[in-house]
């Protein structure tokens, strides 16, 4: 398992475009708490993400990192506190939830492509039926993003005919077709064979270079070092430590962070 992913030779990460806004708040989580029945999964989460930020959330399993990002597009409901995404506060109002989801793309660990639809149909479904874009235009956009993730030739196949890495790239393209303002990645490489991790990370890196606001839950510490501007470490439903990647890896402050890093970075 390659924990360290070296920056691709000859393709140094261009940080020029990766501007972080100082005033434009993309996501604001204020004093958020969540319970699964009696179990307190997220405790007093405060997190402000500025437009253009690239955040990696790390932590042991069960620390609540997936639950946190799933609260941001309301796949999970929070019980206390506020979550404001692109200026819209998430409440029980279904209209607002759909409004937020339209602007927030999500990539899942297990891809979750729609197996009964072709790749092209997977990509055009939401633009056509949520955004009301004409079919021809949606297909053109879809092909653009399939080119971007380097698998335009798979457009008419079904997801079951693709490899894991290809499926995950399609899943990323599917989210991009909605032209989201924010992308959430929930362990996008954890279900992939080691040989396919790189192709997915490359797509994510290029997205970051274009200035996409991203939150990634991942164990790819090389990726964190390379593209993140902030690494957040969670344990037991709380944010334990957050810092710039360089500081985070070379000089962790909290005991729990040190233990975690010593276990994953050999």
């Amino acid at each position: 398992m390659s924990i360290e992913t070296e920056p691709t030779a000859g393709q140094p990460v261009t940080r020029s475009k990766m501007q972080i806004s100082k005033t434009d708040v993309a996501i604001d989580v204020i004093g958020m708490n969540k319970w699964y029945a009696d179990f307190h999964v997220l405790r007093d989460i405060d997190l402000k993400v500025m437009r253009g930020e690239r955040i990696v959330i790390a932590g042991p399993s069960g620390s609540g990192k997936s639950t946190l990002i799933r609260c941001i597009n309301r796949l999970e409901e929070h019980q206390q506190g506020q979550i404001i995404v692109n200026g819209t506060e998430l409440t029980n109002d279904l209209k607002r939830i759909d409004e937020v989801r339209r602007e927030v793309g999500m990539v899942f660990q297990h891809f979750n492509l729609f197996p009964h639809l072709t790749i092209l149909q997977n990509l055009t479904l939401a633009p056509i039926w949520v955004r009301g874009i004409p079919k021809a235009e949606a297909e053109a956009t879809a092909m653009h993003y399939l080119n971007r993730v380097k698998i335009p030739e798979q457009a008419l196949k079904f997801p079951g005919q693709l490899s894991g890495g290809q499926q995950q790239r399609v899943a990323i393209a599917r989210s991009l077709c909605m032209q989201p303002k924010i992308m959430l990645f929930d362990e996008p490489t954890s279900a992939l064979d080691p040989e396919m991790v790189k192709e997915v990370l490359e797509v994510m890196i290029s997205l970051a270079e274009e200035g996409m606001t991203m939150i990634c839950v991942t164990h790819e510490m090389g990726f964190a070092r390379q593209v993140a501007n902030r690494v957040i470490f969670m344990d037991q439903g709380q944010i334990i430590e957050q810092n710039e990647p360089e500081q985070f890896f070379s000089n962790p402050q909290h005991e729990r962070t040190k233990l975690f890093l010593s276990q994953i970075l050999h």
């Binding site: 729609f114 039926w129 005919q161």
Partner: protein, 374 residues
């Protein structure tokens, strides 16, 4: 063995298999005579066929009276099936008491049904949307006008005179076409997060499913008029239709729900994360997959419905089986094999329709398989 180093110089190409792997001889050796016990079973099977087939042939064909024969031929000793009886009464079996000069109206409906349903069922035929609209909207209206008449100079034929295969097909086609959408709505309602909708659907499904169809038909025929204002009568056929449809939809709902439970949470989440609304999530993502998973169950319900139509005799309708039963007592064809021939005929018709549905469902299963099974 200290030298463990090895580097392959060239790759081995694919070679043909050593023995032929297909052909009748290979097939027989593999499937019929693989082991001594297989061989024994093969011979036992052949003996069984030799025992059962000749008498069956003798009854159905050899000693049978062919269509067009006379009743006297059917009355000889040791006669086979009396097909002459079927051919002479075939009109009653198909149309019941429908006036014979008006048979053409029923025939047009049969022809429309075939012409609309066959292209609809064949995936390659284009114009599916027009076809579906014709089938769902135009066809039922045209059929009602044609069959019952009373307008456009067509003679009025009350449903009491309808019968035979015609009634069986009307009830099953209407039942099938309505019970699936109704079942889907009930299944969605049962999964709903809205407590009132959920409890209504649960109550309906559990009530209807726990009651025999005969009871529902009885209630439809005896109790429904009690709730109606006096003077308003509900047509017998309509009662049967409502009873059969509601009964079948409760079963369908559970079949569909089973299919929905086979869909992983990830599909719901991915659809939601894209911003699709509830109905679009269900219509585009969940139901197409769920229904595909439960095609065998759905067709199972369709077949059960088709055969259950024979229970409408309870409300006084003469469906195919009841028509056959009626004529089995007809004195002019009284002969040793009259009744058994009638039942064989009814069974064969039922079997033909049900078997077609079964084959078609298998075809659809294969066609809809997009190779996503993991």
């Amino acid at each position: 063995m200290t030298d463990i180093s090895f580097v392959r110089g060239e790759m081995t190409g694919a070679s043909p298999p050593p023995n032929p792997t297909s052909g009748p001889v290979v097939w027989m050796r593999k499937n019929l005579f693989a082991t001594p016990s297989d061989t024994l079973l093969t011979f036992v099977g052949l003996l069984f066929l030799a025992w059962i087939l000749p008498p069956l042939y003798g009854f159905l064909i050899g000693r049978a009276v062919p269509p067009g024969g006379t009743v006297e031929q059917c009355r000889v000793e040791n006669v086979g099936a009396c097909w002459a009886y079927i051919s002479s009464e075939i009109d009653f079996f198909i149309y019941g008491f429908y006036p014979s000069v008006e048979y053409w109206r029923v025939n047009i409906v049969f022809a429309m049904l075939a012409l609309l349903i066959i292209p609809l069922a064949m995936p390659k035929v284009p114009y599916k949307r027009i076809n579906a609209i014709l089938f769902i909207v135009v066809f039922p209206i045209a059929s009602v006008i044609l069959l019952s008449g009373g307008v456009f100079g067509l003679r009025y034929v009350p449903t009491e005179q309808w019968g035979g295969l015609m009634v069986t097909l009307i009830i099953s086609v209407v039942g099938i076409c309505l019970s699936l959408p109704l079942g889907i709505i009930l299944a969605l309602g049962r999964q709903s997060s809205m407590p009132i909708i959920k409890s209504i659907c649960v109550a309906f499904i559990e009530l209807i499913r726990a009651v025999p169809l005969i009871t529902i038909l009885f209630m439809a025929s005896i109790m429904l008029p009690l709730f109606m204002p006096s003077g308003v009568t509900v047509d017998k056929l309509l009662r049967a239709l409502v009873g059969v449809t509601l009964f079948s939809s409760a079963y369908m709902a559970e079949v569909v729900r089973g299919g929905m439970q086979a869909i992983g949470r990830g599909q719901y989440e991915a659809a939601a994360a894209l911003g699709l609304s509830y109905w679009k999530r269900m219509g585009f993502i969940i139901l197409p997959q769920a229904l595909k998973h439960v095609i065998p169950g759905i067709v199972n319900s369709f077949i059960a419905l088709f055969k259950d139509t024979s229970l409408v005799y309870i409300v006084g309708m003469k469906d195919l089986l009841e028509a056959v039963k009626t004529k089995n007592d007809a004195i002019e064809w009284a002969s040793p094999t009259q009744a058994i021939t009638g039942y064989i005929f009814a069974a064969a018709v039922f079997w033909m329709f049900c078997f077609s549905m079964s084959r078609y469902s298998q075809f659809m299963e294969r066609r809809l398989n997009t190779g996503h099974k993991r």
